[in-house]
């Protein structure tokens, strides 16, 4: 039996209905993939190797980078503590402290220490020029792609105006969404000159298992100072910073599931109508010698073909949105990129196929069990 031919032709038999179903399914898959891509991005952000070895020292009782100010000299004192491998003072400047779809994050650091501590690799540009020129900047490839930034351009936001001399990739996904500058340049360039202060310290410890003890030692060291600290493992810091985001994600997933149910109902309606109007045709097939399983195969095949086309369209839409939509969710200076992985494409396709299977199972079973004589009498 030429299944492929019959399946294709039958989908085109009711073009508008097939297109509407395909469109609904594509929207559901696109939404599902986009929500899940944020979840994957979040997991990637929280799952980096380096995060296990890194502590973030923040100003106690401050929750936004714009209000956390710590003396830069803390770095020297922290580096003397037992178990500390290196300390990176970081000055953050960003456009929005709250949850945002278009966050701009500048990170000013001492260049030499930063290049030692962070695992970044230039994909284009000139590293020597970055080290040499105080207003030069390296842009994470995620941010560069979102904003269409290329090497040689100037990038300006508020009082900060930098020359882009390189685009980099990083081992930690959150770092690919930032702009790296010289520390002093950023300290001076912000709306308020805060030379000598930083937002946080990234502390690399020798042994990940001792991270908790080192964090306690740091906070005890500055407990009585004017600017007390709150030190947490980077993973805990990221988890805390992205708490709101995870709540939004949970809601998004419920929304995505609802859309999948709507798609299921839509597809179910299409399959049921398709079967009802073809009872007589199925009767003719059975008379010719086709078996019940052939008829069930036809019904299921059409649903699965619709699902594959809908999933492909939906995943294409999601890819376009993520690749060219210029969106990344940021909160409290931490940016999470939407991450479309092959696994996610598989999940999107599986979701569509499950919808198709559920929607078509009963109609296929009923079509397979038709009474041939009754079916041939159907008007």
């Amino acid at each position: 039996m030429r299944y492929g031919l019959l399946l294709r032709r039958n989908l085109f038999r009711r073009r508008l209905r097939s297109l509407l179903t395909l469109g609904g399914l594509a929207c559901a898959v696109a939404l599902f993939a986009t929500v899940e891509s944020l979840n994957d991005g979040l997991e990637k952000a929280l799952g980096g190797d380096q995060a296990r070895r890194t502590l973030v020292v923040y100003r106690k009782n401050r929750y936004c980078p714009q209000t956390s100010h710590l003396p830069e000299y803390y770095a020297r004192e922290i580096s003397r503590l037992d178990g500390v491998s290196s300390v990176l003072p970081v000055k953050l400047f960003l456009n929005n402290c709250r949850t945002s779809l278009d966050m701009i994050t500048f990170q000013g650091t001492p260049v030499e220490t930063m290049l030692k501590q962070r695992r970044i690799e230039l994909v284009s540009g000139d590293l020597a020029r970055f080290e040499r020129e105080p207003d030069a900047a390296l842009v994470g490839r995620g941010f560069a792609a979102r904003r269409g930034i290329t090497v040689g351009e100037n990038f300006r936001f508020s009082n900060v105006n930098v020359k882009v001399v390189g685009i980099f990739r990083a081992a930690e996904s959150t770092e690919e969404e930032i702009i790296l500058t010289h520390l002093e340049y950023l300290q001076r360039a912000g709306p308020v000159n805060r030379l000598g202060t930083v937002t946080q310290f990234d502390v690399l410890v020798d042994d990940p298992d001792r991270a908790g003890a080192v964090a306690t030692a740091i906070d005890e060291l500055f407990a009585d100072s004017e600017e007390p600290t709150d030190t947490r493992p980077k993973i805990a810091f990221l988890e805390s910073a992205t708490r709101d985001l995870r709540e939004i994600l949970r809601f998004g997933r419920i929304f995505g599931l609802s859309c999948a149910l709507v798609a299921l109902a839509l597809m179910g309606g299409t399959v049921v109508m398709g079967v009802q109007e073809r009872y007589r045709e199925f009767g003719a097939f059975r008379t010719i010698g086709y078996k019940a399983r052939h008829i069930a195969g036809l019904v299921l095949g059409e649903a699965f073909l619709l699902a594959v086309l809908g999933a492909a369209t939906g995943l294409g839409l999601a890819t376009l949105l993520v690749a060219f939509g210029g969106i990344a969710v940021g909160v409290e200076g931490v940016q999470v990129a939407f991450s479309l992985t092959p696994m996610l494409f598989g999940k999107g396709l599986a979701m569509a196929l499950i919808c198709a299977g559920l929607a078509a199972a009963v109609p296929a079973w009923r079509a397979a069990r038709i009474d041939v004589v009754q079916a041939l009498r159907t008007i």
Binding site: L5, T287, I288, Y290, L376
Partner: protein, 231 residues
């Protein structure tokens, strides 16, 4: 040599709460190569008998043997295989698949047989040629006249070269000229291919095209006399 043997065949079914018995202990023998015509008023059970012969319905009691096979002994799967190889069914309303071309519709039964692409092509081309539609391969059913659609349906019924053709009011929906052409075609198929044909009709004039006719009424069969009927 008998090709079809019905022995004490009874069939009843329920319709709107009433038990209807269109066939009561019917006996019938149809010879191989015969063009047998079954007449009778609407609701007399002609189509029921045809469906039993074609293996798409089951008897309540009695026995049907076609080409040496006892149909009551076959399970649903085996019966479907038997139909694919042995029966060509011509419907009153042709029942072509609207999204397939004439060629693809005729090719449908061959999808169930172990044939190569070239064999299938040759058989479909011959069948369409035999019904005079050799130049209509790529036409969809909606692009054909009623008579042409019925001829495509006949081509579909003969393409697998089955020994038995059953036709349920094949001219019921056609104008006089098209009906005449279809009956002439069935006669030719019967003569040239040697296929046994069982045709159901309520038209006595159509019945004259067969080699033998019987009338089914009130559950039993009796000989049909063309002269008596004035056909």
């Amino acid at each position: 040599m008998s090709f079809i043997e019905l022995s004490r065949v009874t069939k009843t079914y329920r319709r709107a709460g009433h038990v209807v018995s269109p066939l009561v202990e019917v006996d019938l023998v149809v010879e191989q190569g015969e063009f047998f015509v079954l007449l009778g008023p609407s609701g007399s059970g002609k189509s029921t008998l045809l469906n039993l012969l074609a293996g798409i319905d089951r008897v309540d009691s009695g026995r049907i043997v076609v080409g040496g096979r006892d149909l009551s002994a076959l399970g649903p799967g085996a019966l479907a295989d038997w139909r694919a190889e042995n029966v060509g069914y011509i419907f009153q309303q042709h029942n072509l698949v609207p999204v397939l071309t004439a060629y693809e519709n005729v090719e449908l039964p061959l999808g169930l047989l172990p044939l190569g692409r070239a064999d299938r092509h040759e058989r479909v081309a011959l069948a369409l040629e035999a019904v005079g539609l050799g130049d209509r391969h790529d036409h969809l059913p909606r692009q054909l006249s009623g008579g042409q659609e019925q001829r495509v349906a006949i081509a579909r019924a003969i393409v697998a070269d089955p020994p038995l053709l059953v036709a349920d009011e094949p001219t019921g929906n056609l104008d006089a000229d098209s009906a005449d052409a279809v009956l002439t075609l069935l006669q030719r198929i019967n003569r040239e291919r040697g296929a046994t044909i069982v045709m159901v009709t309520h038209d006595p004039r159509a019945a004259r095209r067969g080699s033998r006719a019987m009338r089914l009424d009130k559950g039993s069969l009796r000989h049909f006399d063309h002269e008596e009927a004035g056909a």
